[in-house]
C-alpha cells in the first residue's frame, strides 16, 4: 500500500459507479428505468463526460440488458451491468446463458424486495434465488465493501480457471442510498490489480470463425454443466487468492467470511450484507453484558464457503442465523439450509436457529436481535437443535 489513503463520502451506489470507472469496462448495457439504480445513472454521466471509454448501451428491459452483456462479452469485451429486484428476476433466463457460455460479466445488485405488494426497500431474496445459476455471488455490508467488491469481481470472473459471471449485492437504501466514508484506490492501483483489458481465449472477432451457443443435447450437455461446476469449485480458491491480493493492495482485510469476536465465543450470530453490521454491533452490546458471543459474516455466498463456515462454527453451542430473505414452505431459511447441509455429519456443530427478518425494508433493531439471540439459547437449553422462525412482524 503506497501513498496517502484518500477518503471520500459516497453512497453505496456511487461507490460502485466510481469503482467501475476505475476499471473502465468496454461495455455497460443497462435498462435505465426503475428498478434501475443510481449506479448506471452516475456511470452514464462518466460516459457522457468522456471520463471513460465504455460503450453504454441503454436497452428496453433487463432481459435485453443481460442479453446485450452476453453478446458483448462473447467478443472478448469486459462488461458490467447493474439492476435490482424485479429487474434481476427478468434477467433470470439470461443469467443461465451468461454462465453457460462462460461470460465473465460483472453485475451489481441493489438487493430489494419483490412485488407484490409493491415495495422498493432492502431485502436479499432477489440475489439469493440466483444461487443455482452458476454465478459467483458476493454480498457487501457497506459502501466500502461495495467499492471493493466491484473491483474484486472483475478479477474473480475473468480468472482463466473461473470464467463465470459474478454478481455482488448491497441492500437497497440502507446501503445503496446511504452516505458513508469510502477509502478509494488510485487508477494505477486498479490497473496493477486487473489487466487493462480482458484476456479472452475464445471470442467472436472478424478474424476468428467460431460458434457460440450451439445446440447441445444428450450428447454433451451434461459435460458442459459439469465444467461449470468445476469452474465454481475453482472460484472458491480463486476468490480467496484474489481477496488476499486485494487485502495486500488496499490494506483492508477481505475474506470469504469475516469472523468477529469468535475466538473464545460459545455462540455465534451469522449474517450477511448490512445485517452483518448490525450483528457485530449486537455482539459488542452482548459482550458488554458478559455473553461469550461473536459474529460470522458470510461475504461469499456462491461458491458457498462450507469449510470456512464449519470451522468457524465448530465447538459453538448455538448459531443464530439472520436471513433477510423470504422463502416459503422450506425446511429453513435460505442460508440456514445451506449451513445445515454443510454441517450435517460433522462433529461439534452448534444448534442452528434461522430467522427470516427484515423483508421489504422492515428494520430489525439491535434490541430485537438481542431478543432473538436469547431465544436461540432457550431453544438450545431445551434440546431443540434446529429451528426456524419469522421475526419482526405483526401477527
Amino acid at each position: 500500500m503506497s501513498g496517502v489513503r484518500q477518503v471520500v463520502g459516497m453512497t453505496g451506489d456511487e461507490a460502485v459507479a466510481h469503482a467501475v470507472k476505475l476499471v473502465n469496462p468496454d461495455v455497460v448495457a443497462a435498462y435505465p428505468i426503475t428498478p434501475q439504480t443510481i449506479i448506471v445513472e452516475r456511470y452514464s454521466d462518466f460516459v457522457n463526460n468522456g471520463e471513460v471509454d465504455t460503450s453504454f448501451i441503454p436497452v428496453e428491459s433487463e432481459h435485453s440488458a443481460m442479453s446485450a452483456c452476453v453478446g458483448a462479452s462473447l467478443t472478448g469485451a469486459r462488461v458490467f451491468t447493474a439492476t435490482a429486484s424485479a429487474g434481476l428476476a427478468l434477467m433470470y433466463e439470461i443469467l443461465y446463458v451468461a454462465s453457460g457460455m462462460r461470460c465473465p460479466i460483472v453485475l451489481a445488485v441493489a438487493n430489494r424486495a419483490f412485488s407484490a405488494p409493491i415495495n422498493i426497500h432492502g431485502e436479499c431474496t432477489d440475489q439469493l434465488i440466483c444461487r443455482d445459476a452458476s454465478w459467483v455471488s458476493l454480498f457487501g455490508e457497506s459502501a466500502q465493501e461495495a467499492y471493493d467488491e466491484t473491483i474484486l469481481s472483475f478479477k474473480i470472473a475473468e480468472h482463466p480457471d473461473v470464467m463465470l459471471p459474478t454478481m455482488f449485492g448491497i441492500e437497497g437504501f440502507i446501503v445503496t442510498h446511504a452516505l458513508e466514508r469510502v477509502e478509494t484506490l488510485s487508477k494505477q492501483q486498479v490497473e496493477d490489480f486487473i489487466p487493462a483489458s480482458r484476456i479472452a481465449r475464445d471470442r467472436f472477432s472478424p478474424d476468428e470463425h467460431k460458434t457460440f451457443g450451439s445446440l447441445v443435447l444428450q450428447d454433451y450437455y451434461m459435460e458442459i454443466k459439469r465444467q461449470q461446476e468445476e469452474a465454481m469449485q475453482n472460484a472458491y480458491k480463486v476468490t480467496k487468492d484474489v481477496m488476499q491480493e486485494f487485502s495486500d493492495l488496499s490494506g483492508r482485510r477481505m475474506e470469504v467470511i469475516e469472523k468477529y469476536q469468535l475466538e473464545d465465543a460459545e455462540h455465534a450470530i451469522v449474517a450477511y450484507g448490512a445485517t452483518a453490521g448490525n450483528a457485530k454491533a449486537v455482539v459488542d452490546r452482548l459482550r458488554a453484558k458478559g455473553e461469550k458471543v461473536g459474529a460470522l459474516k458470510i461475504r461469499l455466498f456462491r461458491p458457498f464457503p462450507t469449510l470456512d463456515i464449519a470451522q468457524a462454527l465448530s465447538g459453538l453451542k448455538t448459531a443464530t442465523i439472520l436471513d433477510r430473505s423470504a422463502t416459503f414452505g422450506s425446511p429453513g431459511t435460505i442460508v440456514q439450509t445451506d449451513i445445515a447441509s454443510g454441517l450435517y455429519g460433522r462433529e461439534n456443530v452448534p444448534s442452528l436457529h434461522g430467522y427470516i427478518n427484515g423483508l421489504g425494508g422492515r428494520v430489525l433493531t439491535l434490541p430485537e436481535i438481542e431478543e432473538i439471540f436469547e431465544k436461540s439459547k432457550d431453544y438450545n437449553d431445551v434440546g431443540m437443535n434446529s429451528t426456524t422462525d419469522w421475526v419482526g412482524y405483526r401477527s
Partner: protein, 187 residues
C-alpha cells in the same frame, strides 16, 4: 470493542423540496472531512413537494457497523417551523437531547411547543437569514450552522468546506455567510 456511547444520531425534519436530504449529506461529509465515521440516509417513501420528510446522519469519531434506521435521535433539526403544528418532531428524541428549530418568534413561545419534553431547545430565524443572505427561503444548510454551534458535532470550517464544494460560486458563498450568521445567532 468500541465505546458505544460515542455515536450521535441526528434527525432532520423538513418538507419535500427543502433540502433535508442535502443537509444530512453535507453534515455527514463534514464529519468525514474530520476523519469521523458516518451513515447518512434519507427516509424514502412517496416523494411529494411539501410533504413532511426526514433524513438522518449517524456520526461517530470511531468506526461503527450499525445499519439500522434512526428511531431515537440525540439531535433533531426542524427546517420548517410549520412542522411544529403538523408533525410530532420530538418523537423518539433521547431524554436530555437537543432540538434546533427554524423559528422567528420569541424563544418562550417556542418552548411552549415542547411542554413535558426534557431536551435542550434552541432556535434560529433560519428562513429570515435565508431571505436576507441568499434571497430565497432555503434554510436547510443554515440550520446546520445553528446545529453545529450548540452540539459541536462538526467544526464550522468543515461545514464551510463541504458547502463550497457542493455549491460552486456565488450560491456557495452566500450559503457560507448565512451558515456563519446562524452559527452566531442561534439561541
Amino acid at each position: 470493542m468500541r465505546n458505544l456511547a460515542e455515536i450521535t444520531d441526528v434527525r432532520i425534519n423538513g418538507r419535500g423540496g427543502q433540502g433535508a436530504v442535502t443537509a444530512s449529506r453535507l453534515l455527514a461529509e463534514a464529519a468525514i472531512l474530520e476523519g469521523q465515521y458516518v451513515h447518512a440516509f434519507p427516509n424514502f417513501g412517496p416523494e411529494r413537494a411539501g410533504a413532511p420528510v426526514t433524513s438522518y446522519a449517524r456520526i461517530c469519531p470511531e468506526p461503527f457497523t450499525e445499519k439500522t434506521e434512526v428511531y431515537e435521535p440525540h439531535i433533531v433539526v426542524v427546517i420548517d417551523p410549520t412542522l411544529l403544528d403538523d408533525v410530532p418532531v420530538t418523537d423518539g428524541l433521547k431524554d436530555g437531547g437537543t432540538i434546533v428549530v427554524n423559528y422567528d418568534g420569541e424563544k418562550d413561545s417556542l418552548i411552549k411547543y415542547f411542554e413535558g419534553v426534557h431536551a435542550n431547545i434552541y432556535k434560529v430565524a433560519g428562513s429570515k437569514i435565508a431571505q436576507d443572505e441568499i434571497g430565497r427561503n432555503v434554510p436547510n444548510l443554515i440550520m446546520l450552522g445553528a446545529l453545529i454551534k450548540v452540539t459541536k458535532i462538526v467544526e464550522l470550517e468543515s461545514l464551510t468546506k463541504v458547502t463550497l464544494n457542493r455549491f460552486k460560486g456565488v450560491l456557495g458563498e452566500k450559503n457560507v455567510v448565512a451558515i456563519a450568521k446562524a452559527f452566531e445567532e442561534v439561541e
